[in-house]
């Protein structure tokens, strides 16, 4: 019934628009007739006025002459119009072409926009069937209340277990939609009293500081945690992303080079325990990787993927992704630097870069002749290839660029000496 009404409405609207569009051509020929009819009426009226004596003879004559003049003018205009329509005929052609052209162009335009912006493959999501996006845990529905209950049950047996205390705090945060509440703070503080380096408690206490308006304290705490964490700690990417987010929000100098997940992603990530969080980040990057395999012409996607792998320390995969992006369009010096970096990070200390890396480094050197990374590793490559003068030239250029107290200076000087 509703569909029928909608169709009816559409038909009426389209009809109302179409009728004048199609009638425009016909109307002009009728125009002279209608003008003449008006003038005839006017003449008759003047005549009636004169006969009744309401209008003096002289005025009636003047009025009649005026109307007759207008009739002549109208006739002239009409004949001029007629010659115009027969000779150039452009406006009538326009009127003939306009309706079908509009009828074709508008749907085509709409289709074009839809194909660009829309997602025809997106499955329908009826309200009843929509999954609850509360928690990403697949299989069992895990609610915050249940997590809190579990953590409390765990704590009942071991009231001073720092792990259980932290888990309880985290569950309480989850329950409060990501706000670190006073009870959660108490739990984290108790956990810290038992184990002063509990990463989860430190992280959430920092988050509390950020939420309670003391971003500098939060960042100081997080940087401390970052420095104390082992280099392969699963929470590091998340922690760095949070540092970047909070420093940005508070207008503090932000560390660069971090991938910025969207707000929703961050919030979803925040609610996961660290190990799962790392897993989630990886699976997000893997997802991007898989998506790009289907759509390999997405240059920006490859660059994003490359950056993500680089940050995650997957340098070989990062280098691959950069190569894919490079095949689609030239890279700028900054990206070339990142690409070269992901190549040389795979090197054993002191080893010469392989051919693939050298190719990238050479392009980087061309784009930026004073790039330290390119100078250093291309020097190493030249040295390994036996081209000692080229190695010495590059390393000396680099040496001149380095500040006087650069820590790699002595090593570089030693290498130059060896090459000479």
């Amino acid at each position: 019934m509703l569909e029928f009404l909608l169709a009816l409405l559409t038909t009426v609207t389209v009809g109302a628009l179409l009728v004048p569009l199609l009638r425009v051509g016909a109307r002009r020929t009728e125009r002279l007739d209608s003008e003449l009819a008006i003038y005839r009426d006017q003449l008759a009226e003047i005549e009636r006025g004169r006969a009744a004596g309401a209008v003096p003879e002289s005025e009636a004559a003047a009025a009649r002459i005026e109307v007759e003049r207008r009739i002549l003018h109208a006739a002239e205009g009409a004949s001029a119009n007629a010659t115009k329509t027969t000779a150039p005929a452009d406006s009538s052609t326009l009127h003939r072409i306009l309706p079908p052209a509009l009828a074709l162009l508008l749907p085509l335009l709409a289709l074009g926009v839809y194909l660009n912006v829309g997602r025809p493959g997106l499955p329908a999501a009826p309200f009843g069937a929509r999954p609850v996006v509360d928690l990403p845990a697949p299989g069992e529905p895990m609610t915050a209340e249940r997590l809190v209950a579990q953590a409390r049950a765990r704590l009942a047996g071991r009231p001073n277990d720092p792990d259980a205390l932290s888990a309880l705090g985290e569950a309480l945060v989850l329950e409060a939609d990501g706000t670190v509440t006073q009870p959660a703070i108490d739990a984290f503080n108790k956990a810290l009293a038992q184990r002063p380096d509990d990463a989860r408690a430190l992280y959430y206490l920092g988050l509390h500081e950020a939420q309670s308006g003391d971003s500098p304290a939060a960042i100081a705490r997080w940087r401390d945690l970052e420095a104390k964490s082992p280099p392969d700690a699963p929470w590091l990417p998340m922690l760095r992303a949070e540092i970047a987010r909070v420093s940005k929000a508070a207008g503090l100098p932000a560390p660069g080079g971090m991938p910025q997940p969207t707000r929703e992603q961050q919030e979803a990530l925040q609610s996961l325990p660290p190990a799962e969080r790392q897993q989630a980040i990886r699976s997000m990057v893997e997802g991007l990787d898989a998506k790009l395999k289907d759509n390999p012409a997405d240059r920006a996607g490859w660059l994003r993927l490359a950056n993500a792998w680089r940050v995650l320390g997957e340098n070989a995969r990062a280098a691959d992704a950069y190569a894919k992006a490079d095949a689609l369009g030239p890279l700028d010096a900054k990206t070339l630097t990142d690409w070269a970096e992901s190549h040389v990070r795979q090197l054993a200390p002191g080893a010469a870069p392989p051919a693939a890396a050298v190719a990238v480094l050479e392009r980087l050197e061309k784009a930026e002749p004073r790039n330290a990374l390119a100078l250093f590793y291309l020097g190493a490559a030249s040295f390994a290839a036996g081209d000692k003068p080229a190695a010495v030239r590059r390393w000396k250029t680099l040496l001149a660029l380095l500040p006087a107290d650069a820590p790699i200076r002595p090593m570089l000087e030693e290498r130059i000496k060896a090459a000479e």
């Binding site: 009870p183 703070i185 308006g213 003391d214 971003s215």
Partner: protein, 178 residues
């Protein structure tokens, strides 16, 4: 003459575009509707206590010679959740006197909310029918008023307070008024 009429829509469009451009670029905050309370004695504060067994809130709380923060909140209000940690900090680290009024909020729900999040309010009132909110010119929750020791409203925040508000306005106000 009839030709010139066709310019009218264009002119209207240009005028509207000009107005929008000005609104965007002039730094005007369309959300700011000002407050008539600032600089005047605080409105009547007569609400029942939220917590059981406490005396109702009265005007005397605002004229103790010490500055007070009056915060209208509700458990159903998400921005209130976002600003809550800031009040926790003001209560614990600045020892601020914070008067919370649960606006159009069932006391049971407001109390459960405070139990879950922690309770930064030295005095808590329940304004279930929103009458105190009317007196205070409330447009919604959260809103926050800074009241000095003589009961004069000094600042009125419509919407959640932010880190910047706390550090640049509220803390200097609390310290300066002591």
């Amino acid at each position: 003459m009839r030709r010139t009429l066709f310019i009218l829509p264009l002119l209207t469009l240009a005028l509207m575009a000009g107005f929008f451009a000005w609104s965007l670029l002039a730094g005007r905050d369309p959300a700011s509707i000002g407050s008539v309370l600032v600089g005047r004695p605080a409105p009547r504060l007569e609400v029942a206590a939220l917590r059981d067994g406490e005396p109702p809130l009265t005007d005397a709380l605002l004229r103790t010679g010490k500055p007070a923060i009056v915060n209208f909140f509700a458990s159903w209000c998400t921005p209130c959740l976002a600003e809550h940690p800031l009040f926790t900090r003001l209560a614990t680290r600045e020892e601020a006197t914070i008067i919370g009024v649960a606006w159009k909020n069932k006391p049971v729900e407001a109390l459960a909310w405070l139990k879950r999040l922690g309770d930064p309010y030295k005095f808590a009132g329940a304004d279930l029918d929103g009458r105190a909110g009317l007196d205070w010119g409330l447009s919604g929750v959260p809103e926050t008023y800074l009241v000095d020791g003589q009961g004069i409203v000094r600042r009125h925040f419509r919407g959640p307070i932010t880190e910047r508000d706390v550090n640049e306005t509220i803390i200097p106000f609390l310290r300066g008024a002591k």
